[in-house]
Amino acid sequence: MQIGPRADAAGAAPGVTDVARAAPGVTDVARAAPGVTGFLELSHIRKEFGSFVALHDVSLGVRQGELICFLGPSGCGKTTLLRIVAGLEVQTAGTIMQAGRDITRLPPMERDYGIVFQSYALFPNLSIAENVAYGLVNRRVPRGEREARVKELLALVGLPDSGDKYPAQLSGGQQQRIAVARAIATSPGLLLLDEPLSALDARVRVRLRGEIRSLQQRLGITTILVTHDQEEALSMADRIVVMKDGAIEQLGTAAEIYGQPATPFVADFVGKTNLLPAMPVGEREVQVGAQRFACFIDGAAPAGGGLRVFFRPEDVVVRGVREDTPNSAGAVVERIEFLGAYSRVIFRIDGIDQSLTADLSVNDMAELRPAVGDRLRVAVPAERLRVFG
């Protein structure tokens, strides 16, 4: 079904391979990169809420020390999956192994993780220091050691002097950093972040992304981040799990997800995209409307069936395109949106009844000076066209 180069690799399509494997509980060391063991293994996780199936047979291996991101639209099951890992939700079926221990049926208190919620969930009547020390107190850590640890953690999250304040006296971003400090205070093996940045405004969000990521890398703590923000996922994660309707669509690095989306959904959800219906012509060409483009179908076309062709707006070439440039066609400019560093040009290719988008650099714009109604010649290199069955 899938066209992407990694589709045949076990790692990219866990659903398919896991179905093939009969016994749950078999750790899939094979899937992990060489030398890295599967730290957290979710096998055949299924979750039903009444008759609604929130998760279909999800299997996934998380590597020691990586930041893995669950990405998807609301209702895709990403938060449910995180809450199952935390023991806050109980899966209908499936098993979970963490650090070689079967935690499938363990209550939250017997699992080993720290968690940060979108709402921060700081205790409002306790000082920042008391919040951070909350889990330490219960573990009978001696007072002196505890205070030293709190000091260290507050320094770590960049708020060394806030210990005596109360949560309400801090900004949203500061509160979220304290929530992270509290979660890692007891040195858990796993850090769960449930949309940690969604409640913050855009600038703070971008700054905190970098801070959390570098903190995670410094500590080497295995982390699961749930988000619906693709930019957040692309910029922070070692690997991204794109989810849709309770199933994994694709698992890969940011570059793989963006550059070689496994499905039209991933292509559309991560980044902006142009998607066109097409018919295969042999193994090397597709027919789109009245135009014909060269591409690599890789035998993915169902016999006689339609295809979909996809390319990114930034893949459109406009400079130096001549009549004889491969994969080029005449087009009319319909609309231009100036977006600062680049401009988004909406255009229509002759013989194709659909508006398309191109992101043109400042240089492109300076050279071509396109205006609405102008004709220009555009090209999309064959290696940039991706084809879905």
Binding site: V19, Q91, R105, F117, P124
Partner: protein
């Protein structure tokens, strides 16, 4: 779901039917229960059992009693048939319904206008007017009846205004009930009218909407649920109140007084049970409607709403001021007359102001003990009772596990609102009077009064607790569990401190209601546990209206004093928590 799904995964699932079938056949996964959670579950089950014993069992006892004869032999529906064949008794149903309807029809418009003035005008002294209007809550409902006897009774000051008419009977009952129900309706309506989003009015103004149209299209629909709710509360109150018809009703019979007469006067328990069940029907109907309405109201106000700030409108503001002060003065006149009457030496012959009724009528006659008992009972309700209610709400809202059992506890928590006090009290007699009942020892004790009163006022307190608990981040428990902190540590370190204002509210509510309640406890007191409100009934029945007024005044003074105490406690608390509440 999976069959209809389109996507690469779906085909994979379909391709391996054996595996999916194996998953489906596998038992649903369950987490092991951590021992700390187990404690929470055990506590919740215990709370459920307590509520079953002290709410459900008495109700069942009434049902059982209604189908037995006096000797305890099963007679089917004979008691009901008998009841409806007794014209005098059956007439009480009609009396109860029309009086309650009339009370509602008078109270709601008055309370709505008052609430409208408080929320939508720029009238001055709003806080003062609001507090004056809420004063009747501090008094037992009987106080109004006593006061109206002083005003309009056979020897009343303004008897001539009635032009030969009688205050005793329906007129006295209606007017006294309006006094007693007014603050209850007012509180609900003020809340309902405060819930309006100013942006709706701004949008309407931008479209050039007339004031009348704004009222009909924004104000009234916005307050719709509050109006229905207030209507229900007033109607139910009027239907089930016992004190007022007892004192000022004369020969006018209502369901609540019938129960009393049948049970206490004639010792006809089965017939009393029949009336109790009949009383349950309309209350149950209003209760069901109300809970439906409550469910729908929640979504009205979003976090983005902008509070409404009324604009100056001299004519309107003056009209509202005049209306509110008229109401306030009338309410004060009722309260004041009872207080005044308690000091008058010998009504209507000697109007010297003396303390005779307090000294002779209450202290020397030994009746003062019942005031002391009331304070004691109110204290226990306000502490143990309030704490119990809060912790049950906590267990329901914030702990995990035993999900199938939770709806039962939830039902037990909201059911008391649908049970009139008279009915609850009667159920307690039937259930606890049995010598064979292991809990029989409670019968006639102070404990049973505390329990009965706590159950009687359970629902409002429960809802207050629930609201406060819901405002606390739901993830606190999850965070605590991830830090391996047992739930009780978070309960005492975080939840209770954060909920203290709500707990104080519940406690105060319990105290004032326990101080003033008559209906539930009128069946349950023993010679050693007489209560102030019951003493008022008895003093009035004995013809000692001066002493009755004195006792009512004492109750009001106590309630007011305690409210003041709570107020200072709240101020102190606010100051202490200023650092973290902003």
């Amino acid at each position: 779901m999976s069959a209809g799904e389109i996507g690469p995964r779906a085909s994979a699932a379909i391709a391996a039917p054996g595996v999916t079938a194996a998953i489906a056949a596998h038992a649903v996964t369950r987490l092991k229960v951590h021992w700390t959670d187990r404690i929470g579950n055990v506590l919740l089950v215990a709370a459920g059992i307590v509520l079953a014993i002290f709410l459900l069992a008495p109700m069942v006892a009434i049902l059982a009693k209604s189908i037995e004869d006096k000797a305890g032999v099963f007679v089917g529906l004979a008691n009901f048939v008998d009841y409806f064949r007794t014209p005098a008794l059956a007439k009480s149903i009609w009396n109860s319904i029309w009086v309650s309807t009339l009370v509602t029809a008078i109270t709601i418009p008055l309370a709505f206008t008052f609430a409208y003035a408080l929320t939508r005008s720029r009238m001055r002294f709003k806080a003062l007017l609001r507090n004056l209007a809420l004063v009747p809550i501090l008094a037992p409902s009987l106080l109004a009846a006593i006061s109206f006897i002083f005003w309009f009774g056979n020897q009343g000051l303004l008897k001539d205004l009635l032009m030969g008419g009688q205050i005793y009977g329906a007129p006295g009952i209606v007017i006294s009930m309006v006094f007693a129900t007014f603050p209850h309706a007012l509180m609900i309506l003020v809340t309902a009218l405060s819930l309006t989003d100013a942006r709706l009015y701004e949008a309407a103004d931008a479209l050039g909407t007339s004031a009348a149209r704004k009222f009909w299209t924004i104000t009234l629909p916005g307050a719709k649920y509050g109006l229905i709710s207030a209507w229900m509360v007033v109607f139910t109150y009027a239907l089930s109140d016992f004190g007022i018809p007892k004192v000022i009703g004369g020969n006018f019979n209502m369901l609540a007084t019938d129960i009393f007469k049948l049970v206490i006067g004639q010792q006809d328990f089965p017939k009393g049970a029949v009336v109790a069940i009949i009383l349950l029907v309309p209350v149950a109907v209003t209760y069901v409607v109300d809970s439906y309405v409550q469910k729908r109201q929640s979504a009205l106000l979003t976090a983005r709403s902008v509070p409404y700030v009324p604009r100056a409108s001299p004519a309107f503001d003056w009209a509202m001021t005049a209306f509110c002060w008229t109401i306030a003065v009338l309410l004060l006149a009722v309260l004041g007359m009872a207080i005044y009457g308690s000091f008058v030496k010998l009504w209507p012959y000697n109007f010297d102001m003396v303390l005779d009724h307090y000294r002779v009528g209450l202290v020397d006659a030994g009746v003062i003990v019942s005031w002391y008992n009331s304070v004691k009972m109110a204290f226990w309700c306000a502490t143990l009772g309030a704490a119990f209610i809060f912790f049950v709400a906590y267990l329901l809202e914030k702990t995990r596990g035993i999900d199938p059992f939770r709806p039962f506890v939830r039902l037990m928590a909201v059911l008391p609102m649908g049970v009139p006090g008279m009915v609850l009290g009667l159920g307690y007699i039937f259930f606890f009077v049995h010598a064979g009942n292991p809990l029989h020892f409670l019968y006639g004790s102070m404990a049973i009064l505390v329990v009965c009163t706590t159950v009687h006022y359970y629902t409002s307190s429960h809802l207050t607790a629930l609201t406060a608990l819901k405002q606390i981040d739901n993830e606190f428990e999850a965070v605590s569990a991830s830090l391996r902190v047992p739930f009780w540590r978070t309960l005492f370190r975080v939840t209770v401190p954060v909920c203290l204002p709500a707990m104080l509210d519940i406690s105060r509510y319990m105290f004032v209601n326990a101080m003033t309640t008559v209906s539930a406890v009128v069946f349950l007191y023993s010679p050693s546990t007489t209560l102030a409100s019951v003493a008022i009934v008895n003093l009035d029945e004995a013809g000692d209206i001066g002493a009755a007024a004195a006792m009512a005044t004492l109750v009001v003074a106590t309630s007011a004093g305690v409210c003041l105490l709570y107020y200072f406690l709240q101020v102190w608390l606010d100051r202490r928590t200023q650092a973290w509440r902003t």
